[in-house]
Symmetry: C2
């Protein structure tokens, strides 16, 4: 097929957008490579799987797939509201955090308006800002940490509508304490909303997570069933914010967009906190093992409050990209940050034993091949 | 809770949108009523259920719910492309037709630009047009039929970007022959795209459905697994159009928005054409039975090329609304057209025997109660 051309009827904004995607999925890579992966450690999925209660609930609900899901996701929102101690009007459920980020940008960012994020932070957020014509301003990481004070200062300077902050952070795995987040919110100008992406909150120390206060108009907090709950394939994200802000989502969202079985799966997962705790413990053990594997080859695994580890390959972005390429060539799916100096790292999900063993086997070969390539170019 | 107020940071467009939804789901009604429905015949779901192969495939795939779905829905798009004889680049899969309609409006309709639909046609399309600030122009039905020539003429007059036409039609169940659609496309001005909603194509006579021609830039055709495939709860819609137009969806869509289990379910359903044929036969029998029930009470069931029947209650919109209200009060979930003169009808899905029996029991009581109410007001 020839390269696509813009249909002449596209809006000027749509025509201006690139033919590019924020992430290439592993299935696409498998088709390109013509070979399956031996380890699936690139998308921070939970290879330990969902709760057995979820599997049972999904199997029981399969014959009900003919019915649209509840357009209000009422039972699920009620369970989430109870869990977080907020009213149900503060909770919106959507097709993953990705879907909710898209709605949020659409609601708050008119074309040309400013948005602030960190250089190297979540590409899909930047994708949505571009998609709605927002003007994205980026702030560098401070070391391996997002810089809340600089984000807020830039929001002030640019008159931003939205400030994106992930805590714990992706792709570095670092985190800030709740009081640091609270201070950033106190300093946030009134024209801006902070979107606090807490996709990895289940793995974080308690002191990283501020208490929920549904009356807070300054922040919307995003959570997901894709990580600790092991339900990435069911697309269930949620956000908690002031009821007035949450009500705006209902003005634009795909009202019957949630799969009925996804609602069932999320509810079943909430009913099994023991499985969640066991998953977090497995992830902790896997992160320790990833640190050991990295250290055995002279690499430094960064501290992580998530379900992945950023491993500093020790020789800059080009070298890390070569390591990643060689890992993929050895059937290990991993990803890496896209921006210097974060891109000296590869990002490896804390997966099950077999996947980590495949990574452990491939890593020394990948490092050697990357070093050979670097020597050959020198 | 108090009524929601607009967050002051909303864009002017978002602030201008009403706090209203296109459809109130049956689950919401059940919560309001405090009582379950005895018959679920309001959303044109397929009460005959999905294929046993789908149920089996869903049960087998449940443990895989931890993996994101393929962001390209490659296997499913490939199967659909083969089924319709078009290249895979002509096929986009999305979170139901509703989700795809939203993307389409976003891609083609800048604020203030004209869009044409029929007065009383699919409310969710109108919802998306409003949501992106489009200027919706409506054309009346001609009798119980959408009026392709008038739609095209209005597109010409208004400089419309999009013209919506459902064939077979919802909510009336009527249909046009393929040659009538082809003639409308021939007359369509170059600035407009026709969105041909074929959600009910599986129930339609062959002569209603034009052949697919992937090179046609004038039309995008929408299909769904929610109706004949019995998978409304899995949210799988697709569209077929020119590859350049389809490529534009990838610029804005939620790339990992499709549930992995939904992709699995749709593929399994495509592998069972016998089940699909059996479902269509059951729907045909149910429509005959609905006609019999209507006729037994002096009402006229309109001919239908869909999986529902519009039943003319014979005395205008207020009376039909009263009948609907009395049916709902008797635990029968049905819906009806929102615009005169279509609103002289109620719309009843062609469901399984038990649901039709509940409808048959409730209808004479509902008619009597509606007549009493009308007499009391007279």
């Amino acid at each position: 097929m020839s390269e696509p051309q813009n249909d002449p009827r596209l809006t000027p904004l749509a025509a201006s957008l690139p033919f590019a995607v924020p992430f290439v999925g592993p299935e696409t890579q498998v088709r390109t490579r013509g070979r399956p992966f031996a380890a699936r450690l690139g998308a921070n999925e939970c290879g330990f799987g969902p709760s057995p209660r979820v599997i049972e609930a999904l199997r029981a609900a399969a014959p009900e797939a003919w019915m649209y899901g509840d357009a209000e996701s009422w039972e699920l929102r009620q369970a989430l509201a109870a869990r977080h101690g907020v009213p149900i009007e503060s909770v919106i459920v959507g097709e993953g955090i990705d879907g909710l980020l898209g709605y949020l940008v659409r609601l708050l960012v008119a074309p040309g308006e400013a948005v602030v994020t960190s250089a190297g932070a979540y590409p899909t957020f930047a994708y949505h800002v571009a998609g709605y014509g927002g003007a994205l301003h980026t702030v560098p990481y401070r070391g391996d940490f997002e810089d809340p004070e600089a984000l807020v200062a830039t929001a002030e300077q640019t008159g931003a509508r939205l400030v994106y902050l992930a805590n714990p952070d992706n792709p570095m795995g670092s985190w800030h304490g709740a009081e640091r987040i609270a201070a950033a919110l106190d300093a946030l100008p009134g024209h801006a909303l902070m979107v606090l992406d807490e996709a990895y909150a289940d793995f974080a120390p308690a002191e990283a997570i501020p208490p929920f206060y549904a009356g807070d108009r300054r922040v919307i907090r995003m959570r997901t069933f894709s990580k600790a709950h092991g339900l990435a394939g069911m697309r269930v994200g949620y956000a908690i914010g002031h009821p007035d802000l949450i009500a705006a989502f209902h003005k634009v969202r795909n009202h019957f967009g949630m799969c009925r079985l996804s609602q069932t799966a999320a509810l079943a997962s909430l009913s099994d906190p023991d499985h969640l705790a066991a998953t977090v413990a497995k992830v902790d053990a896997a992160k320790t093992e990833l640190g050991r594997i990295a250290g055995a080859h002279g690499l430094n695994a960064l501290p992580s409050a998530t379900n992945f580890v950023a491993i500093d390959c020790g020789a800059g972005g080009d070298f890390a990209r070569a390591v990643l390429r060689e890992l993929v060539a050895r059937d290990v799916f991993v990803r890496m940050p896209g921006v210097a100096p974060l891109d000296r790292c590869i990002r490896v999900s804390a997966g099950p034993e077999g996947d980590l063993a495949a990574f452990a086997r491939a890593l020394p070969e990948a490092l050697a091949a990357a070093r050979e390539g670097a020597d050959a170019r020198a």
